[in-house]
């Protein structure tokens, strides 16, 4: 609908400046066009119309979107591209795009989104699809062997140290910043994320954090409430808001029955098996409330010398917490990775609490295998009654109450343009135009509302009315979006260090954690010391001086 509007506007010879005025989206374009053509739709309404129309493709509850839908979304959101690129301007340019193929998402969507862009600009895109597990190795090998064979890459912020830190990425031109409306990003995705040495490199297409997913039917269950009171627990039976309470609830639920399935009830689900480094995020989600002090930006390493903090009292307490409730976990939990806890357990009705990325919330009502769509609630990660002050070497109780420190695990996917396009102005503009199209404000709303692999990451994504109009249940989506927004905007959010080789640290930690959980160390402290020793080795191997400098830069110190 709005594409036609746009075309009519084009025929009306609207100026580029006029098109961009008001809003950096086709909504604005359509609005301006509407005004010049004497249509009654005002600018705000036109933008809203476009976004509403986008969210109806294909419509919530009408099955998964198809490639035709992706193309339609790409076509409808081409306005900002048309504002800065003439038709056929990139004729003859071929760009290579390296991205993922997880769950047939990521590159599969990008192909559809960019097809109308290719048709309009004349550029063509060659695709390199990678499985998540192969991504790190492929990227590192390309960098190390100086065989970067792609112009655009879909990449997570943790890899910025590897890529932008070595000058391999192209600096974002000013016009792209205008097109993608970076002011709309949630605060934690703004600089220093996406920047290196003060230069901007990243078009964000995702925002990542772990939130806390729980079963409302457990915490509204009268039998559980009565048992909780009769067993003499402190406070009412309610969703735990500290890890201390999570532990208490998890132990309490052992031996009881799940109100939905009638099988064994379980509390918090810990993934005890590694997941190519990604499993470490889940220990971190338990640890941040203990380890991230509001007065200290660092929580994983000392910023002075990269000395690991993973064996300080905060982290050891988190590890001990896991050990303390291992007996209360479902059978075979030692062989459960994060994918299992989210999709085969929580969404399938096993367990009552789990930390995960937004995929659990997105899948609760849309996944065919989910049985908990009507009984899932969300909040930010639990806090802690006390927090470890690493500088002082003591536990502190804050005057403000429990310490919360949501884990901004992975910091979301972004699109980056490689420096190899810089030499050719036409390729440079083409690559950045493609990246800007994928990171467009309206397109991103659609991507965060439908299965795409991407979470909401813009302030404008948190307009509940837009989601309810698209067919979402208001209470559910409000709860879900609030848990995301409150995490992103939390003043004590624990933000991951963007240093080279960060997944090496996570991977080796997973190996040691597996031994700790299997009881091969005498204590959690001994196991944590082993992780710290392995991390020290990695830091020395990569280069302590450069790692420290990059770590400090990533913390904006």
């Amino acid at each position: 609908m709005k594409v036609e509007l746009y075309n009519r506007m084009r025929r009306g010879q609207m100026s580029r400046r006029g098109m961009l005025r008001g809003a950096a989206s086709v909504g604005a374009v359509a609005a301006a066009g509407g005004f010049s053509l004497g249509l009654s739709t005002g600018p705000a309404n036109a933008a809203t119309d476009l976004r509403a129309a986008l969210l109806k493709i294909p419509g919530v509850g009408t099955g998964s979107p198809s490639d035709a839908d992706y193309q339609k979304v790409g076509e409808m959101t081409l306005g900002p591209t048309k504002a800065v690129v003439a038709e056929g301007e990139f004729e003859g340019v071929e760009l290579t795009f390296l991205g993922l193929n997880n769950q047939n998402q990521h590159n599969f969507l990008f192909r559809g989104f960019l097809k109308p862009w290719e048709k309009y600009t004349g550029a063509t895109i060659k695709w390199i699809d990678l499985a998540q597990a192969d991504y790190n190795a492929r990227l590192q090998q390309s960098i190390a062997t100086q065989t970067v064979d792609f112009d655009i890459i879909e990449m997570g912020a943790p890899f910025e140290g590897d890529v932008t830190g070595r000058g391999l990425a192209s600096e974002m031109p000013e016009w792209v910043k205008d097109v993608i409306d970076m002011d709309d990003y949630v605060d934690y995705l703004k600089a220093p994320v996406g920047t290196w040495d003060g230069k901007t490199y990243r078009v964000s297409i995702d925002g990542d954090c772990h939130n806390f997913n729980y079963r409302t039917d457990y915490f509204e269950n009268e039998d559980f409430a009565a048992a909780w009171a009769s067993e003499g627990h402190d406070g009412p039976w309610e969703v735990p808001n500290t890890w201390q309470k999570v532990q208490e609830v998890t132990k309490f639920l052992t031996g009881k029955k799940d109100p939905l399935s009638g099988l064994d009830a379980h509390g918090y689900l810990d993934p005890l098996k590694g997941w190519g480094g990604f499993g470490f995020y889940f220990l971190a989600s338990r640890a941040t409330a203990y380890a991230k002090h509001p007065d200290d930006p660092a929580w994983l390493f000392d910023p002075e010398d990269m000395k690991p903090r993973v064996n300080n009292e905060a982290w050891v307490r988190a590890i001990q917490d896991v050990l303390d409730v291992m007996a209360d976990q479902p059978t075979d939990q030692i062989n459960a990775d994060p994918g299992t806890t989210a999709f085969q357990q929580f969404l399938a009705g096993t367990g009552s609490m789990v930390s995960w990325w937004g995929d659990v919330g997105a899948g609760a009502k849309t996944s065919d295998s989910s049985v908990v769509g009507e009984v899932t609630g969300f909040s930010i990660l639990p806090g802690s009654d006390d927090v470890w002050n690493h500088k002082e070497g003591k536990w502190e109780t804050l005057d403000t109450g429990p310490n919360y420190a949501p884990n901004m695990a992975y910091i979301g996917w972004g699109v980056y343009v490689m420096a190899r396009v810089d030499a050719d102005p036409k390729r440079h503009k083409a690559a950045w135009s493609a990246a800007a199209h994928l990171g467009g404000k309206d397109l991103s709303l659609w991507a965060s509302a439908y299965p795409s692999g991407f979470q909401p990451y813009r302030k404008s994504h948190f307009n509940v009315d837009e989601w309810t109009e698209a067919g979402y249940d208001e209470a559910f989506i409000d709860d879900y979006l609030s848990s995301e927004a409150d995490s992103y905007n939390h003043p004590n959010a624990a933000i991951e260090p963007r240093i080279p080789g960060i997944f090496q640290y996570y991977s080796v930690a997973e190996d040691e954690l597996a031994k700790i959980y299997a009881g091969q160390y005498a204590s959690a402290q001994e196991g944590a010391d082993a992780i710290a020793a392995a991390w020290e080795k990695i830091t020395d191997q990569i280069g302590r001086e450069s790692q420290t400098a990059l770590y400090r830069a990533s913390l904006n110190l």
């Binding site: 597990a133 192969d134 790190n136 190795a137 590192q140 090998q141 960098i143 190390a144 065989t147 590897d162 070595r166 099988l263 005890l272 098996k273 590694g274 997941w275 190519g276 480094g277 479902p330 059978t331 075979d332 030692i334 062989n335 990775d337 085969q344 399938a348 096993t350 080279p500 080789g501 997944f503 090496q504 991977s507 080796v508 997973e510 190996d511 597996a514 031994k515 959980y517 299997a518 009881g519 091969q520 990695i538 191997q541 990569i542 280069g543 450069s546």
Partner: protein, 368 residues
């Protein structure tokens, strides 16, 4: 005279002129010179001693191919008919040298270097540091220990395969159907087996095997909860995939045993058990050893099922050397150390297989 003693039956006598020989030598040495020049130039350029060079090593590869072609051609030019004979094997020799020997030497150079892909300093020679690290690496030794367990399981697999082969070799109904049915697991990818069996059928809540276990009274079935159980399950899944391979080899051997020998044993009054142990089994030894040897080689590469199902857990109980190297190399980009581990494993395998074959040879052919 020459033709009479030439057992290779040269049909023509070459009349090779000195000029032709000189041409051949010019060709081979000229192309070798170009190759060496390019190698030297590129090496100096890469190390910063020269300001000019190629973007990558591809031109050197082309020069190598050119030299190889010239070298082959020069054999004919210089040696005529004799050179043509050399051409039957020379391309294969050059191919093996370039695809096996050169990468092996290159791999060795990597194995003795500190090369973490995330390091901005790149690769540097670090002597025996990687060997020392390996010596003190409990994960590697744990994986090697697990490989001993996994390899020992082959004896059980062999016994089962032999039993199945005997069954299929006997006169049973639907013999052809069972032969195909028993072979099917071998046709499946180990990754498919991992998902189908390890992650689905053995899933503790919904998996049919877990349901069956509950039905027969195992209240909380756990297939990967303890080190011993997890290792056993990995062995079972791997065995299920590869027993058909041993079975089909043994079956072929059984069918090749002459009927007369077995009939003679019967006539002499041997019981079924005696006939098996005294006649069939000894006759089957050569093929059995071949089957076991190939199976050992397969087993030493075991990784995919482990990576998919347990990631080496719990606590490294199911880790194989290959799955550990996979993590070290892929997840941690530790190319130098990962390569050394692989090289050491290669040497261990070569030594172990050689000892195994020597022992078998002594057993099969005793020297009195």
């Amino acid at each position: 005279m020459t033709a009479q003693v030439d057992l290779l039956h040269v049909v023509t006598t070459d009349n090779i002129t000195p000029r032709r020989i000189a041409l051949g030598r010019t060709l081979v040495w000229g192309s070798a010179g170009i190759l060496l020049l390019l190698i030297a130039t590129q090496a100096l350029f890469e190390n910063g001693y020269l300001s000019f060079g190629f973007e990558n090593w591809r031109p050197v590869l082309y020069a190598y191919v050119f030299w190889a072609v010239c070298f082959c051609a020069s054999q004919v030019i210089i040696r005529g008919e004799q050179g043509k004979r050399a051409l039957f094997v020379l391309p294969a020799v050059l191919f093996v040298a370039s695809m096996v020997i050169f990468p092996l030497l290159f791999g060795l150079s990597i194995a003795f270097s500190d090369w973490n892909l995330a390091s901005p300093d790149g690769r540097s020679f670090n002597g025996l540091d990687n060997v020392r690290q390996m010596w003190a690496d409990p994960f590697y030794w744990n994986a090697l220990k697990n490989m001993v367990y996994y390899t020992m399981a082959i004896l059980v697999e062999y016994a089962i395969a032999f039993g199945l082969a005997l069954l299929l070799n006997s006169q049973i109904r639907a013999q052809k159907f069972f032969r195909v049915a028993f072979l099917m697991p071998l046709m499946l990818s180990p990754v498919a087996v991992s998902w189908m069996v390890g992650k689905s059928m053995l899933e503790v809540r919904f998996g049919p095997i877990a349901r069956l276990a509950r039905w027969i009274g195992w209240e909380h079935p756990s297939f990967f909860g303890t080190p011993e159980m997890a290792r056993t399950m990995i062995m079972v899944m791997d065995a299920w995939t590869f027993i058909p391979f041993m079975m089909i080899m043994i079956l072929a051997g059984l069918q090749a045993i002459p009927k007369e020998v077995q009939e003679a044993a019967k006539v002499d009054g041997a019981s079924a058990i005696q006939a098996f142990w005294q006649v069939v089994f000894p006759l089957m030894l050569p093929i059995s050893i071949t089957a076991v040897l190939i199976r050992i080689i397969f087993k030493l590469k075991l990784a995919d099922i482990i990576i998919t199902v347990t990631s080496g857990g719990p606590g490294g109980a199911t880790d194989s050397v290959t799955s550990f190297i996979f993590r070290e190399y892929r997840d941690r980009s530790n190319v130098g150390y990962g390569t050394l581990l692989a090289m050491v494993y290669l040497v261990v395998i070569i030594i172990a297989i050689t000892i195994f074959m020597k022992l078998v040879d002594r057993w099969m052919n005793p020297r009195y």
